[in-house]
Protein backbone atom coordinates (compact mmCIF):
# COMPACT_ATOMS: atom_id res chain seq x y z
CA UNK A 1 0.00 0.00 0.00
CA UNK A 2 2.58 2.49 1.12
CA UNK A 3 5.62 1.49 -0.81
CA UNK A 4 4.17 0.51 -4.13
CA UNK A 5 6.19 3.19 -5.89
CA UNK A 6 9.44 2.38 -4.19
CA UNK A 7 9.32 -1.39 -4.46
CA UNK A 8 7.59 -1.64 -7.79
CA UNK A 9 8.79 -4.58 -9.77
CA UNK A 10 8.59 -2.62 -12.99
CA UNK A 11 12.03 -2.12 -14.46
CA UNK A 12 10.88 1.21 -15.80
CA UNK A 13 10.50 2.60 -12.31
CA UNK A 14 13.70 1.14 -10.89
CA UNK A 15 15.16 4.09 -9.04
CA UNK A 16 18.29 5.57 -10.50
CA UNK A 17 21.18 6.70 -8.32
CA UNK A 18 19.85 10.24 -8.46
CA UNK A 19 16.42 9.15 -7.30
CA UNK A 20 17.86 7.14 -4.45
CA UNK A 21 19.73 10.22 -3.24
CA UNK A 22 16.54 12.23 -3.63
CA UNK A 23 14.63 9.74 -1.54
CA UNK A 24 17.17 9.87 1.29
CA UNK A 25 17.15 13.67 1.23
CA UNK A 26 13.36 13.83 1.37
CA UNK A 27 13.07 11.30 4.19
CA UNK A 28 15.77 13.11 6.14
CA UNK A 29 14.03 16.45 5.63
CA UNK A 30 10.73 15.01 6.82
CA UNK A 31 12.33 13.49 9.92
CA UNK A 32 14.16 16.71 10.81
CA UNK A 33 10.96 18.68 10.38
CA UNK A 34 9.06 16.30 12.67
CA UNK A 35 11.79 16.29 15.29
CA UNK A 36 11.99 20.07 15.47
CA UNK A 37 8.34 20.79 15.00
CA UNK A 38 6.67 17.99 16.98
CA UNK A 39 9.12 16.20 19.24
CA UNK A 40 10.86 19.27 20.67
CA UNK A 41 7.58 20.75 22.01
CA UNK A 42 6.74 17.44 23.69
CA UNK A 43 10.24 17.17 25.14
CA UNK A 44 10.01 20.78 26.34
CA UNK A 45 6.82 20.03 28.29
CA UNK A 46 8.44 17.23 30.28
CA UNK A 47 11.75 19.03 30.74
CA UNK A 48 10.01 22.08 32.15
CA UNK A 49 7.72 19.96 34.29
CA UNK A 50 10.66 18.17 35.92
CA UNK A 51 12.98 21.19 36.00
CA UNK A 52 12.60 21.52 39.79
CA UNK A 53 12.91 17.82 40.42
CA UNK A 54 10.54 14.94 40.89
CA UNK A 55 9.29 15.97 44.33
CA UNK A 56 8.27 19.39 43.08
CA UNK A 57 6.51 17.76 40.13
CA UNK A 58 4.57 15.47 42.42
CA UNK A 59 3.64 18.31 44.74
CA UNK A 60 2.46 20.47 41.84
CA UNK A 61 0.08 17.75 40.78
CA UNK A 62 -1.18 17.22 44.32
CA UNK A 63 -2.43 20.79 44.58
CA UNK A 64 -6.12 20.88 45.42
CA UNK A 65 -6.90 23.07 42.39
CA UNK A 66 -5.12 20.75 39.99
CA UNK A 67 -6.95 17.75 41.41
CA UNK A 68 -10.34 19.38 41.14
CA UNK A 69 -9.51 20.53 37.59
CA UNK A 70 -8.63 16.94 36.78
CA UNK A 71 -11.94 15.74 38.24
CA UNK A 72 -13.92 18.32 36.29
CA UNK A 73 -12.15 17.41 33.05
CA UNK A 74 -13.08 13.78 33.62
CA UNK A 75 -16.66 14.62 34.53
CA UNK A 76 -17.15 16.75 31.42
CA UNK A 77 -15.77 14.01 29.16
CA UNK A 78 -17.96 11.39 30.82
CA UNK A 79 -21.08 13.44 30.08
CA UNK A 80 -20.20 14.88 26.67
CA UNK A 81 -18.70 11.85 24.95
CA UNK A 82 -21.57 9.34 25.48
CA UNK A 83 -24.08 11.91 24.25
CA UNK A 84 -22.07 12.41 21.08
CA UNK A 85 -21.71 8.66 20.68
CA UNK A 86 -25.46 8.34 20.79
CA UNK A 87 -25.81 11.16 18.29
CA UNK A 88 -23.16 9.64 16.03
CA UNK A 89 -24.89 6.28 15.96
CA UNK A 90 -28.33 7.66 15.30
CA UNK A 91 -27.14 10.14 12.67
CA UNK A 92 -25.16 7.51 10.78
CA UNK A 93 -28.03 5.01 11.01
CA UNK A 94 -30.42 7.54 9.48
CA UNK A 95 -27.92 8.75 6.88
CA UNK A 96 -26.48 5.45 5.69
CA UNK A 97 -29.58 3.22 5.92
CA UNK A 98 -32.26 5.49 4.43
CA UNK A 99 -32.75 7.80 1.48
CA UNK A 100 -34.38 11.08 2.39
CA UNK A 101 -34.68 14.72 1.37
CA UNK A 102 -31.94 17.06 2.54
CA UNK A 103 -29.46 14.32 3.37
CA UNK A 104 -26.42 16.10 1.98
CA UNK A 105 -27.42 19.27 3.82
CA UNK A 106 -27.56 17.26 7.04
CA UNK A 107 -24.09 15.83 6.40
CA UNK A 108 -22.75 19.34 5.82
CA UNK A 109 -24.40 20.67 8.98
CA UNK A 110 -22.80 17.93 11.07
CA UNK A 111 -19.40 19.33 10.01
CA UNK A 112 -20.21 22.89 11.07
CA UNK A 113 -18.55 22.63 14.51
CA UNK A 114 -15.26 21.77 12.79
CA UNK A 115 -15.34 25.02 10.87
CA UNK A 116 -16.26 27.31 13.75
CA UNK A 117 -13.54 28.93 15.84
CA UNK A 118 -13.64 27.55 19.40
CA UNK A 119 -13.99 31.03 20.80
CA UNK A 120 -17.02 31.70 18.61
CA UNK A 121 -18.44 28.34 19.73
CA UNK A 122 -18.19 29.39 23.36
CA UNK A 123 -19.70 32.77 22.59
CA UNK A 124 -22.70 31.09 20.93
CA UNK A 125 -23.68 29.54 24.26
CA UNK A 126 -23.16 32.83 26.06
CA UNK A 127 -25.62 34.33 23.57
CA UNK A 128 -28.22 31.70 24.44
CA UNK A 129 -27.71 31.09 28.16
CA UNK A 130 -25.71 34.13 29.34
CA UNK A 131 -27.24 36.87 31.47
CA UNK A 132 -27.85 38.97 28.37
CA UNK A 133 -28.74 35.98 26.24
CA UNK A 134 -32.07 34.59 25.07
CA UNK A 135 -32.74 32.42 28.09
CA UNK A 136 -30.60 34.39 30.54
CA UNK A 137 -33.38 36.31 32.34
CA UNK A 138 -35.54 33.20 32.70
CA UNK A 139 -32.60 31.13 33.95
CA UNK A 140 -31.56 33.68 36.56
CA UNK A 141 -35.17 33.96 37.73
CA UNK A 142 -35.10 30.24 38.45
CA UNK A 143 -31.62 30.42 39.87
CA UNK A 144 -30.17 28.14 37.19
CA UNK A 145 -26.58 28.66 36.18
CA UNK A 146 -25.26 27.47 32.85
CA UNK A 147 -22.69 30.04 31.80
CA UNK A 148 -19.73 30.33 34.21
CA UNK A 149 -20.81 26.96 35.57
CA UNK A 150 -20.33 23.30 34.76
CA UNK A 151 -23.33 22.89 32.37
CA UNK A 152 -21.88 25.57 30.06
CA UNK A 153 -18.54 23.78 29.99
CA UNK A 154 -20.31 20.53 29.14
CA UNK A 155 -22.30 22.19 26.34
CA UNK A 156 -19.23 23.84 24.82
CA UNK A 157 -17.41 20.51 24.94
CA UNK A 158 -20.34 18.72 23.30
CA UNK A 159 -20.24 21.29 20.52
CA UNK A 160 -16.56 20.97 19.70
CA UNK A 161 -16.65 17.15 19.80
CA UNK A 162 -20.02 16.95 18.05
CA UNK A 163 -18.93 15.60 14.62
CA UNK A 164 -16.21 13.12 15.59
CA UNK A 165 -18.20 9.90 16.05
CA UNK A 166 -20.62 10.63 13.21
CA UNK A 167 -17.80 11.44 10.78
CA UNK A 168 -16.10 8.16 11.58
CA UNK A 169 -19.26 6.05 11.34
CA UNK A 170 -20.93 7.52 8.24
CA UNK A 171 -18.28 6.51 5.65
CA UNK A 172 -17.71 3.21 7.46
CA UNK A 173 -21.38 2.18 7.53
CA UNK A 174 -21.84 3.43 3.99
CA UNK A 175 -19.06 1.17 2.78
CA UNK A 176 -20.41 -1.76 4.75
CA UNK A 177 -23.90 -1.57 3.29
CA UNK A 178 -27.08 -2.85 4.88
CA UNK A 179 -27.35 -6.37 3.42
CA UNK A 180 -26.73 -8.15 6.72
CA UNK A 181 -29.21 -5.96 8.57
CA UNK A 182 -31.89 -6.45 5.93
CA UNK A 183 -31.30 -10.21 6.11
CA UNK A 184 -31.76 -10.09 9.88
CA UNK A 185 -35.02 -8.16 9.51
CA UNK A 186 -36.29 -10.56 6.87
CA UNK A 187 -35.54 -13.43 9.22
CA UNK A 188 -37.70 -11.77 11.83
CA UNK A 189 -35.33 -9.87 14.08
CA UNK A 190 -36.69 -6.70 15.62
CA UNK A 191 -34.94 -3.33 15.48
CA UNK A 192 -33.01 -3.60 18.73
CA UNK A 193 -31.72 -7.06 18.10
CA UNK A 194 -30.61 -6.02 14.60
CA UNK A 195 -28.68 -3.18 16.19
CA UNK A 196 -27.13 -5.17 19.06
CA UNK A 197 -26.45 -8.40 17.15
CA UNK A 198 -25.60 -7.18 13.64
CA UNK A 199 -24.81 -3.48 13.44
CA UNK A 200 -22.88 -2.92 16.66
CA UNK A 201 -20.50 -5.89 16.23
CA UNK A 202 -19.78 -4.65 12.71
CA UNK A 203 -19.11 -1.04 13.60
CA UNK A 204 -17.52 -1.47 17.03
CA UNK A 205 -13.98 -0.54 16.02
CA UNK A 206 -15.00 2.49 13.98
CA UNK A 207 -17.22 3.51 16.88
CA UNK A 208 -14.36 3.12 19.35
CA UNK A 209 -12.07 5.09 17.04
CA UNK A 210 -14.50 8.01 16.84
CA UNK A 211 -15.09 7.84 20.58
CA UNK A 212 -11.35 8.08 21.27
CA UNK A 213 -11.06 11.15 19.03
CA UNK A 214 -14.03 12.77 20.78
CA UNK A 215 -12.69 11.95 24.24
CA UNK A 216 -9.25 13.29 23.39
CA UNK A 217 -10.65 16.56 22.10
CA UNK A 218 -12.99 16.88 25.04
CA UNK A 219 -10.12 16.49 27.52
CA UNK A 220 -7.99 19.06 25.74
CA UNK A 221 -10.51 21.67 24.63
CA UNK A 222 -9.44 25.15 25.61
CA UNK A 223 -10.93 28.03 23.59
CA UNK A 224 -14.63 27.20 23.77
CA UNK A 225 -14.46 26.15 27.40
CA UNK A 226 -12.44 29.21 28.31
CA UNK A 227 -15.22 31.54 27.11
CA UNK A 228 -18.00 29.88 29.13
CA UNK A 229 -16.03 28.84 32.20
CA UNK A 230 -15.54 32.08 34.10
CA UNK A 231 -12.25 30.64 35.44
CA UNK A 232 -13.46 29.99 38.99
CA UNK A 233 -10.65 28.05 40.64
CA UNK A 234 -11.68 24.69 41.97
CA UNK A 235 -15.15 24.98 40.47
CA UNK A 236 -15.14 25.73 36.76
CA UNK A 237 -11.55 25.23 35.66
CA UNK A 238 -10.78 22.19 33.55
CA UNK A 239 -7.21 20.96 33.34
CA UNK A 240 -6.30 23.00 30.21
CA UNK A 241 -7.69 26.13 31.88
CA UNK A 242 -5.72 25.35 35.03
CA UNK A 243 -2.59 25.14 32.85
CA UNK A 244 -3.33 28.61 31.51
CA UNK A 245 -3.99 30.10 34.95
CA UNK A 246 -0.83 28.64 36.47
CA UNK A 247 1.17 29.84 33.47
CA UNK A 248 -0.22 33.36 33.70
CA UNK A 249 0.73 33.40 37.39
CA UNK A 250 4.32 32.63 36.33
CA UNK A 251 4.04 29.31 38.12
CA UNK A 252 5.74 27.65 35.16
CA UNK A 253 6.75 24.39 36.81
CA UNK A 254 3.22 23.70 37.99
CA UNK A 255 1.77 24.75 34.62
CA UNK A 256 4.04 22.35 32.76
CA UNK A 257 3.42 19.61 35.32
CA UNK A 258 -0.31 19.86 34.62
CA UNK A 259 0.45 20.12 30.91
CA UNK A 260 2.50 16.92 31.10
CA UNK A 261 -0.65 15.01 32.13
CA UNK A 262 -2.46 16.35 29.07
CA UNK A 263 0.53 15.49 26.89
CA UNK A 264 0.48 11.93 28.22
CA UNK A 265 -3.22 11.74 27.38
CA UNK A 266 -2.40 12.90 23.84
CA UNK A 267 0.31 10.25 23.48
CA UNK A 268 -2.05 7.55 24.74
CA UNK A 269 -4.61 8.77 22.17
CA UNK A 270 -2.09 8.44 19.34
CA UNK A 271 -1.05 4.95 20.43
CA UNK A 272 -4.66 3.73 20.74
CA UNK A 273 -5.54 5.29 17.40
CA UNK A 274 -2.64 3.68 15.60
CA UNK A 275 -3.30 0.31 17.25
CA UNK A 276 -6.92 0.30 16.13
CA UNK A 277 -5.86 1.33 12.65
CA UNK A 278 -3.35 -1.45 12.22
CA UNK A 279 -5.26 -4.16 14.10
CA UNK A 280 -8.66 -3.67 12.51
CA UNK A 281 -8.22 -1.72 9.30
CA UNK A 282 -10.52 1.03 10.55
CA UNK A 283 -9.47 4.29 8.96
CA UNK A 284 -6.55 2.49 7.36
CA UNK A 285 -6.49 3.82 3.88
CA UNK A 286 -6.33 1.24 1.11
CA UNK A 287 -6.58 -1.61 3.62
CA UNK A 288 -9.49 -3.29 1.86
CA UNK A 289 -7.64 -3.38 -1.44
CA UNK A 290 -4.54 -4.72 0.23
CA UNK A 291 -6.33 -7.67 1.76
CA UNK A 292 -8.01 -8.49 -1.52
CA UNK A 293 -4.84 -8.80 -3.53
Amino acid sequence: MSNRGANSSSALLQPSMQQRVGRVVLIAAALVFLAVFLLLPVAAVFTQAFSQGWAMYRDSLRQQDVLSALRLTGLVAVIAVPLNVQFGISASWAITRFEFHGKSLLITLIDVPLAVSPVVAGLMYVEVFGLHGWLGPWLSEHNLHIIFAVPGIVLATIFVTFPFVARELIPFMQAQGSDEEIAAVVLGANGWSVFWRVTLPNIKWALLYGTILAASRSIGEFGAVSVVSGHIRGLTTTLPLEVEMLYNEYNFTAAFAAASLLTLAAIVTLVLKKSIESATGVHQHGQEKESES
Binding site: L12, A30, F100, V271, K274
Partner: protein, 287 residues
Protein backbone atom coordinates in the same frame (compact mmCIF):
# COMPACT_ATOMS: atom_id res chain seq x y z
CA UNK B 1 -48.61 4.86 -11.64
CA UNK B 2 -47.95 8.59 -11.37
CA UNK B 3 -51.54 8.93 -10.09
CA UNK B 4 -50.92 6.81 -7.03
CA UNK B 5 -47.65 8.56 -6.43
CA UNK B 6 -49.32 11.93 -6.36
CA UNK B 7 -51.97 10.71 -3.95
CA UNK B 8 -49.39 9.66 -1.43
CA UNK B 9 -48.77 12.42 1.05
CA UNK B 10 -45.32 14.01 0.98
CA UNK B 11 -42.83 12.13 3.04
CA UNK B 12 -39.28 12.79 4.09
CA UNK B 13 -38.15 9.40 2.87
CA UNK B 14 -37.53 9.19 -0.86
CA UNK B 15 -37.09 5.44 -1.03
CA UNK B 16 -38.58 2.97 1.38
CA UNK B 17 -36.34 0.57 3.24
CA UNK B 18 -37.15 -2.63 5.10
CA UNK B 19 -35.02 -1.48 8.01
CA UNK B 20 -36.66 -0.02 11.11
CA UNK B 21 -35.74 3.02 13.15
CA UNK B 22 -35.80 5.85 10.63
CA UNK B 23 -38.14 8.06 12.62
CA UNK B 24 -36.36 7.56 15.91
CA UNK B 25 -32.88 8.09 14.50
CA UNK B 26 -33.67 11.06 12.28
CA UNK B 27 -35.78 12.58 15.05
CA UNK B 28 -33.02 12.38 17.62
CA UNK B 29 -30.42 13.51 15.08
CA UNK B 30 -32.35 16.61 14.07
CA UNK B 31 -33.35 17.52 17.63
CA UNK B 32 -29.78 17.19 18.87
CA UNK B 33 -28.37 19.09 15.89
CA UNK B 34 -30.88 21.88 16.42
CA UNK B 35 -30.23 22.19 20.14
CA UNK B 36 -26.44 21.96 20.05
CA UNK B 37 -25.58 23.65 16.75
CA UNK B 38 -28.42 25.45 15.00
CA UNK B 39 -30.03 27.43 17.83
CA UNK B 40 -26.75 28.72 19.28
CA UNK B 41 -25.58 29.57 15.76
CA UNK B 42 -28.80 31.46 15.13
CA UNK B 43 -28.43 33.28 18.44
CA UNK B 44 -25.08 34.75 17.53
CA UNK B 45 -26.05 35.65 13.95
CA UNK B 46 -29.31 37.26 15.07
CA UNK B 47 -27.54 39.27 17.73
CA UNK B 48 -25.08 40.41 15.10
CA UNK B 49 -27.86 41.37 12.69
CA UNK B 50 -30.00 43.13 15.33
CA UNK B 51 -27.38 45.85 15.41
CA UNK B 52 -28.41 47.30 12.10
CA UNK B 53 -26.14 47.41 9.14
CA UNK B 54 -24.29 50.66 9.85
CA UNK B 55 -23.52 49.87 13.49
CA UNK B 56 -22.48 46.37 12.50
CA UNK B 57 -20.18 47.70 9.82
CA UNK B 58 -18.79 50.28 12.19
CA UNK B 59 -18.07 47.61 14.80
CA UNK B 60 -16.42 45.11 12.50
CA UNK B 61 -14.28 47.72 10.76
CA UNK B 62 -12.97 49.59 13.79
CA UNK B 63 -9.18 50.12 13.45
CA UNK B 64 -8.28 47.66 16.21
CA UNK B 65 -10.59 45.04 14.70
CA UNK B 66 -9.20 45.60 11.20
CA UNK B 67 -5.68 45.24 12.57
CA UNK B 68 -6.68 41.94 14.17
CA UNK B 69 -7.98 40.66 10.80
CA UNK B 70 -4.67 41.61 9.21
CA UNK B 71 -2.70 39.79 11.88
CA UNK B 72 -4.99 36.75 11.86
CA UNK B 73 -5.53 36.32 8.14
CA UNK B 74 -1.96 37.29 7.21
CA UNK B 75 -0.45 34.83 9.69
CA UNK B 76 -2.98 32.15 8.74
CA UNK B 77 -2.14 32.59 5.05
CA UNK B 78 1.60 32.24 5.66
CA UNK B 79 0.94 29.29 8.01
CA UNK B 80 -1.27 27.63 5.40
CA UNK B 81 1.46 27.93 2.77
CA UNK B 82 4.06 26.52 5.17
CA UNK B 83 1.63 23.75 6.06
CA UNK B 84 1.13 23.01 2.37
CA UNK B 85 4.87 22.73 1.76
CA UNK B 86 5.72 20.58 4.77
CA UNK B 87 2.46 18.68 4.62
CA UNK B 88 3.15 17.72 1.01
CA UNK B 89 6.67 16.64 1.92
CA UNK B 90 5.39 14.39 4.72
CA UNK B 91 2.51 13.01 2.68
CA UNK B 92 4.92 12.15 -0.10
CA UNK B 93 7.46 10.48 2.15
CA UNK B 94 4.76 8.50 3.97
CA UNK B 95 2.96 7.43 0.79
CA UNK B 96 5.99 6.60 -1.32
CA UNK B 97 8.88 5.41 0.78
CA UNK B 98 9.41 2.78 3.40
CA UNK B 99 11.92 3.44 6.13
CA UNK B 100 12.49 2.35 9.72
CA UNK B 101 10.14 4.05 12.17
CA UNK B 102 7.66 4.96 9.49
CA UNK B 103 4.67 3.87 11.57
CA UNK B 104 5.77 6.11 14.41
CA UNK B 105 6.18 9.03 12.04
CA UNK B 106 2.73 8.34 10.62
CA UNK B 107 1.21 8.33 14.10
CA UNK B 108 3.12 11.46 15.14
CA UNK B 109 1.61 13.52 12.34
CA UNK B 110 -1.64 13.52 14.32
CA UNK B 111 0.02 14.89 17.45
CA UNK B 112 -1.21 18.46 16.84
CA UNK B 113 -4.77 17.09 16.66
CA UNK B 114 -4.34 15.26 19.96
CA UNK B 115 -2.23 17.71 21.94
CA UNK B 116 -4.39 20.27 23.77
CA UNK B 117 -3.88 23.68 22.22
CA UNK B 118 -2.99 25.33 25.53
CA UNK B 119 -0.17 22.81 25.99
CA UNK B 120 1.09 23.46 22.47
CA UNK B 121 0.93 27.19 23.20
CA UNK B 122 3.00 27.22 26.37
CA UNK B 123 5.42 24.65 25.01
CA UNK B 124 6.09 26.55 21.77
CA UNK B 125 6.51 29.73 23.79
CA UNK B 126 9.07 28.02 26.02
CA UNK B 127 10.97 26.79 22.94
CA UNK B 128 11.07 30.09 21.08
CA UNK B 129 11.52 32.47 24.02
CA UNK B 130 14.86 34.19 24.38
CA UNK B 131 16.24 31.48 26.65
CA UNK B 132 14.43 28.58 24.94
CA UNK B 133 16.03 25.66 23.15
CA UNK B 134 15.37 27.19 19.72
CA UNK B 135 15.03 30.85 20.65
CA UNK B 136 18.53 31.09 22.07
CA UNK B 137 19.99 30.31 18.64
CA UNK B 138 17.66 32.66 16.79
CA UNK B 139 17.71 35.70 19.05
CA UNK B 140 21.43 36.51 18.52
CA UNK B 141 20.69 36.71 14.78
CA UNK B 142 17.91 39.18 15.41
CA UNK B 143 15.18 36.66 14.67
CA UNK B 144 12.45 37.13 17.24
CA UNK B 145 9.75 34.48 17.22
CA UNK B 146 8.04 34.61 20.60
CA UNK B 147 5.71 37.59 21.01
CA UNK B 148 5.89 38.55 17.32
CA UNK B 149 3.75 37.71 14.26
CA UNK B 150 6.35 35.03 13.43
CA UNK B 151 5.39 33.23 16.63
CA UNK B 152 1.74 33.34 15.59
CA UNK B 153 2.72 31.77 12.27
CA UNK B 154 4.63 29.01 14.07
CA UNK B 155 1.68 28.13 16.30
CA UNK B 156 -0.75 28.22 13.39
CA UNK B 157 1.48 26.01 11.24
CA UNK B 158 1.74 23.54 14.12
CA UNK B 159 -2.04 23.07 14.27
CA UNK B 160 -2.53 23.31 10.50
CA UNK B 161 -0.07 21.01 8.75
CA UNK B 162 -1.69 17.65 9.69
CA UNK B 163 -4.74 18.68 7.64
CA UNK B 164 -2.56 18.80 4.52
CA UNK B 165 -0.87 15.47 5.23
CA UNK B 166 -4.16 13.70 5.91
CA UNK B 167 -5.76 15.15 2.77
CA UNK B 168 -2.91 14.43 0.35
CA UNK B 169 -1.51 11.13 1.68
CA UNK B 170 -4.50 8.90 0.75
CA UNK B 171 -4.61 10.35 -2.77
CA UNK B 172 -0.93 9.62 -3.32
CA UNK B 173 -1.36 6.12 -1.90
CA UNK B 174 -4.30 5.49 -4.22
CA UNK B 175 -2.47 6.58 -7.33
CA UNK B 176 -2.19 3.61 -9.65
CA UNK B 177 1.51 2.92 -10.33
CA UNK B 178 0.49 1.74 -13.79
CA UNK B 179 -0.15 5.35 -14.75
CA UNK B 180 3.37 6.32 -13.81
CA UNK B 181 4.77 3.23 -15.50
CA UNK B 182 2.90 4.15 -18.66
CA UNK B 183 4.32 7.67 -18.50
CA UNK B 184 7.80 6.31 -17.90
CA UNK B 185 7.51 3.87 -20.79
CA UNK B 186 6.58 6.79 -23.00
CA UNK B 187 9.81 8.47 -21.97
CA UNK B 188 8.69 10.84 -19.24
CA UNK B 189 11.41 11.74 -16.76
CA UNK B 190 10.89 12.06 -13.00
CA UNK B 191 9.94 15.71 -13.17
CA UNK B 192 7.48 15.15 -16.01
CA UNK B 193 5.91 12.22 -14.21
CA UNK B 194 5.47 14.39 -11.15
CA UNK B 195 3.99 17.42 -12.90
CA UNK B 196 1.91 15.59 -15.51
CA UNK B 197 0.76 12.46 -13.70
CA UNK B 198 0.91 13.01 -9.96
CA UNK B 199 0.27 16.73 -9.57
CA UNK B 200 -3.08 16.86 -11.42
CA UNK B 201 -4.49 14.15 -9.16
CA UNK B 202 -2.94 15.41 -5.95
CA UNK B 203 -3.63 19.10 -6.48
CA UNK B 204 -7.31 19.18 -5.43
CA UNK B 205 -6.40 17.28 -2.26
CA UNK B 206 -3.56 19.69 -1.59
CA UNK B 207 -5.96 22.60 -2.09
CA UNK B 208 -8.51 21.05 0.28
CA UNK B 209 -5.89 20.37 2.93
CA UNK B 210 -4.48 23.88 2.65
CA UNK B 211 -7.95 25.42 2.93
CA UNK B 212 -8.67 23.33 6.04
CA UNK B 213 -5.32 24.36 7.52
CA UNK B 214 -6.11 28.01 6.79
CA UNK B 215 -9.56 27.71 8.37
CA UNK B 216 -8.15 26.08 11.47
CA UNK B 217 -5.37 28.68 11.71
CA UNK B 218 -7.75 31.60 11.29
CA UNK B 219 -9.95 30.37 14.13
CA UNK B 220 -7.15 29.12 16.36
CA UNK B 221 -7.00 30.49 19.88
CA UNK B 222 -5.32 28.30 22.51
CA UNK B 223 -1.96 27.71 20.90
CA UNK B 224 -1.62 31.28 19.61
CA UNK B 225 -2.41 33.47 22.60
CA UNK B 226 0.58 32.35 24.65
CA UNK B 227 3.20 32.96 21.96
CA UNK B 228 1.58 36.01 20.37
CA UNK B 229 2.26 38.62 23.06
CA UNK B 230 -1.22 39.98 22.31
CA UNK B 231 -0.29 43.59 21.61
CA UNK B 232 -3.32 45.46 20.23
CA UNK B 233 -2.78 46.47 16.59
CA UNK B 234 0.36 44.32 16.28
CA UNK B 235 -0.04 40.78 17.54
CA UNK B 236 -3.66 40.58 18.63
CA UNK B 237 -5.66 37.92 16.81
CA UNK B 238 -9.38 38.25 16.13
CA UNK B 239 -10.36 35.34 18.38
CA UNK B 240 -8.61 37.02 21.30
CA UNK B 241 -10.32 40.32 20.50
CA UNK B 242 -13.68 38.55 20.85
CA UNK B 243 -12.66 37.29 24.28
CA UNK B 244 -11.46 40.77 25.24
CA UNK B 245 -14.79 42.29 24.18
CA UNK B 246 -16.59 39.68 26.27
CA UNK B 247 -14.49 40.46 29.30
CA UNK B 248 -15.40 44.12 28.85
CA UNK B 249 -19.08 43.02 28.75
CA UNK B 250 -19.33 44.31 25.17
CA UNK B 251 -21.55 41.41 24.08
CA UNK B 252 -22.73 43.22 20.99
CA UNK B 253 -19.22 43.91 19.75
CA UNK B 254 -18.22 40.32 20.42
CA UNK B 255 -21.26 38.98 18.53
CA UNK B 256 -20.61 41.28 15.56
CA UNK B 257 -16.97 40.26 15.19
CA UNK B 258 -17.91 36.61 15.71
CA UNK B 259 -20.49 36.90 12.91
CA UNK B 260 -17.77 38.20 10.61
CA UNK B 261 -15.55 35.24 11.57
CA UNK B 262 -18.42 32.83 11.02
CA UNK B 263 -18.96 34.24 7.54
CA UNK B 264 -15.31 33.52 6.74
CA UNK B 265 -15.61 29.97 8.14
CA UNK B 266 -18.64 29.25 5.97
CA UNK B 267 -16.97 30.62 2.84
CA UNK B 268 -14.01 28.29 3.39
CA UNK B 269 -16.34 25.36 4.12
CA UNK B 270 -18.22 26.08 0.90
CA UNK B 271 -14.97 26.29 -1.07
CA UNK B 272 -13.80 22.93 0.29
CA UNK B 273 -17.14 21.33 -0.56
CA UNK B 274 -16.96 22.77 -4.08
CA UNK B 275 -13.49 21.36 -4.63
CA UNK B 276 -14.58 17.93 -3.43
CA UNK B 277 -17.76 18.05 -5.49
CA UNK B 278 -15.79 18.89 -8.63
CA UNK B 279 -13.30 16.10 -8.02
CA UNK B 280 -16.12 13.61 -7.51
CA UNK B 281 -17.83 14.75 -10.69
CA UNK B 282 -14.61 14.46 -12.67
CA UNK B 283 -13.94 10.99 -11.32
CA UNK B 284 -17.52 10.02 -12.06
CA UNK B 285 -17.03 11.07 -15.66
CA UNK B 286 -13.83 9.11 -15.99
CA UNK B 287 -15.54 5.95 -14.77
Amino acid sequence: MPETKRKKSWSLVTRSSPLPGFRVSIGFTLAYLTAIVLIPLAAILLHGSRLGWSVFLHTVTAPRVLASYRVTLGSAAVAALLSAAFGLLLAWVLARYSFPGKRIVDALVDLPFALPTAVAGISLTALYAESGWIGRYLEPHGIHVAFTPLGIVMAMSFVGFPFVVRSVQPVLEDLDPAMEEAAASLGANVWQRFTRVIAPVAFPALLTGTALAFARAAGEYGSVIFIAGNMPMRTEITALLIVTKLEEFDYTGAAAIASAMLALSFIIMLAVNLIQWRVQRREGKRV
